[in-house]
Amino acid sequence: MSTVVLLIVTGLGLGALYFLIASGLSLIFGLMDVLNFAHGAFLAIGAYGTWWAAGFLPGAGPDGPGFLLALTFGVAAGTLAATLVELCVIRPLYGRHREQILATVGLSLAVPALLQAIWGADPLTFPKPRAVRGTVDLLGAHIPKDRVLLILVAVALFTALWLFNSRTRYGLIVRAGVQDRAMVTALGIDVRRSFTLVFAIGGAAAALAGALGGLYYGVVTPTQGMSLLIFAFIVVVIGGTTSLTGCAIASVTVALVQQFANYYTVAGLGDIAVVIVLAVVLLTRQGGLAAKKSAERVA
């Protein structure tokens, strides 16, 4: 019993991490049709930004309020990077989806290499604030506190995004744009203006995921983003791009399948089980679980 609880909560923690990455990816893909390979780079920037700030930024530190400041710094760095990428790289290539993908592929190779050049290829130990060290007891299982933190953050992000989507004017435009971009443009609204916003939100969420991923894994490496990104892509494809809820459900499903299969069978089989789930979903319900629109419009 306690093992099952532990696996569920750990799975939810991993699912939370996937959700942080995939929510931004799916927003970007849904609205702009950009398959953003640079998302892993935003994640790495968030992780390294937080790590650097915790060690070197005056006022910030590896613990307590200092860590919050470091986290804020990391997220700000990721947001800034995402905004710059949208303005300088994606914007001039509007309407040319192949080129946009190629440009983000180039960035996804260059940015980790840059991080590696500055801080080396070896994993760096990520600071762990006292508040998330140790475990809490739940139904007889000892659950690491950082998993709980991840889940709380993901729930908070979900709520925030949901409020943004349903209560603000920009959210309305974004939602309508995901449904039918041509129609929104025809109604006289410049959807492109919201592109930068969506990219910034996605970048911030990815950077947050990078920093929290640092807590989850205990270390940061330049290439961490890429391996997480692949699972986030799978989540986006399974969850579809039209609804936030679909994305959340897909994140949790993928993570739980992965955790349980990895624990009860051979390690590594969980990752493969996820791929099988993806293949089944794609072949039976094209365009994902919650999607009315298929993911096939591009390329």
């Binding site: 893909f29 398959l35 390979f37 790289v89 001039p92 290539l93 040319r96 192949r98 080129e99 993908i101 190629l102 440009a103 592929v105 180039g106 960035l107 996804s108 190779l109 260059a110 940015v111 980790p112 290499a113 840059l114 590696q116 050049a117 500055i118 290439t223 890429m226 692949i230 892509f233 799978i234 986006v236 494809v237 051979v266 390690a267 590594g268 990752d271 493969i272 996820v274 791929v275 993806l278 293949a279 794609l282 072949l283 094209q286 365009g287 298929s294 993911a295 096939e296 419009r297 591009v298 390329a299």
Partner: protein
């Protein structure tokens, strides 16, 4: 769009030839023959090219680097068959390459099969694998297909890294079992023979892709790339054609894997990763997707540049301040950045460059007149 350069090229060429006959134009076979002749005479020349290569052209180090470039040239050509000719965006090409290399290495290691049989079986395995996975992946289109291929390749990558039964060697990879390889392909002294193998592979891949693209199947591929729905409306089911391209591409890639195994004398899990496929995409886009020489040129230049930058990285930039020197010592940083710039300023790749320059000059002349 990058992908639209090729179909127009022959027609514009023919039209230009019709209006203003240019006697200087060489026959179509002249280019390939010249390139092949240069490649075949290289090992016999003792010329040194200062700055480009260490040592003479026929020194083992240079030949090894050239063989490497050629292997990637052939591999990129097989990827271009999917990306440039048919317009399929696959993120899983590394899987078939790795399948060729790993299966061949394992067969020679565990079953102690001689090279020829190991190569044959592994290429067959790679072709079958791409047929099977392609049949699944091609059920969906566009980005969804790209994601499925990525996921399949990731599975392969995980499998290799987990080292089931201590067979794949995990992070360390596998070394070539030289006892099963003919003596003429082993050792530094025989680098030239490896070079011949690499030339043969690159030529074979190129010829297959050119020949298929010129065949009736190639016409359908062109149609699929331009507008798949229209092909379907015309009564041709695109699915078997796409699957054929996927399978041939996968088979050529697995053959490339075997050649890679011979040239490097081993195989490591880096060739199974998604990043590896992304570098293939970069190579093809760099040279010019769907063009005659693009993939070969892009792959050759990329491989050469990465190799040289790695060599230069350590010492050449030490005079510069640290914050410039550190990023410059990372080949991927330089290549990635250059690639992004290239996407901006030279869409269509290197092969489209002369035409762009020419048309720019023509425009300028026109405005002056």
């Amino acid at each position: 769009m990058i992908t639209e350069t090729e179909p127009q090229a022959p027609t514009t060429e023919a039209a230009a030839g019709g209006r203003t006959p240019r006697p200087r134009r060489l026959p179509r076979w002249a280019g390939p023959v010249a390139v092949l002749a240069i490649l075949l005479t290289l090992p016999f020349s003792t010329i040194t090219v200062p700055g480009l290569f260490h040592g003479a052209l026929n020194s083992p180090a240079t030949l090894h680097l050239l063989a490497f470039c050629l292997v990637f040239g052939g591999l990129a050509t097989s990827y271009d068959l999917l990306y440039g000719r048919v317009g399929l965006l696959s993120f899983g090409h590394a899987l078939y390459f790795a399948c060729g290399a790993y299966v061949a290495a394992l067969l020679m290691r565990i079953l102690e099969l001689p090279l020829v049989w190991a190569a044959l079986v592994s290429v067959l395995a790679g072709t079958l694998l791409s047929l099977l996975l392609g049949a699944v992946a091609l059920r969906v289109n566009g980005i969804a297909m790209a994601m499925v291929t990525l996921a399949f390749a990731q599975t392969g990558s995980i499998l290799v890294a987990r080292d089931p039964g201590r067979a794949t060697g995990g992070e360390e990879g596998l070394s070539l079992n030289t006892a099963m390889v003919p003596d003429t392909l082993v050792g530094v002294m025989n680098t030239v023979n490896l070079y011949w193998v690499a030339v043969a592979y690159a030529a074979f891949a190129t010829v297959v892709v050119w020949w298929l693209s010129a065949s009736p199947v190639g016409r359908v591929w062109q149609g699929i790339r331009a507008n798949e729905q229209r092909v379907a409306v015309l009564g041709v089911d695109p699915y078997p054609y796409k699957l054929a391209a996927f399978t041939v591409g996968g088979g050529l890639a697995s053959l490339g894997g075997v050649v890679y195994l011979l040239v490097t004398g081993g195989v490591t899990p880096t060739i199974t990763t998604a990043e590896f496929t992304l570098t293939l995409l970069v190579m093809v886009a760099l040279g010019g997707a769907g063009s005659r020489w693009g993939a070969l040129l892009g792959a050759g230049l990329y491989t050469y540049a990465e190799h040289r930058l790695r060599q230069l990285g350590g010492d050449s930039f030490s005079a510069l301040p640290d914050w410039i020197a550190a990023p410059l010592s990372q080949p991927l940083f330089i290549l990635g950045t250059l690639f992004v710039l290239m996407v901006f300023f030279f869409p269509g790749g290197l092969v489209a460059l002369p035409e762009r320059v020419r048309s720019a000059l023509r425009d300028r002349r026109a405005t002056r007149e």
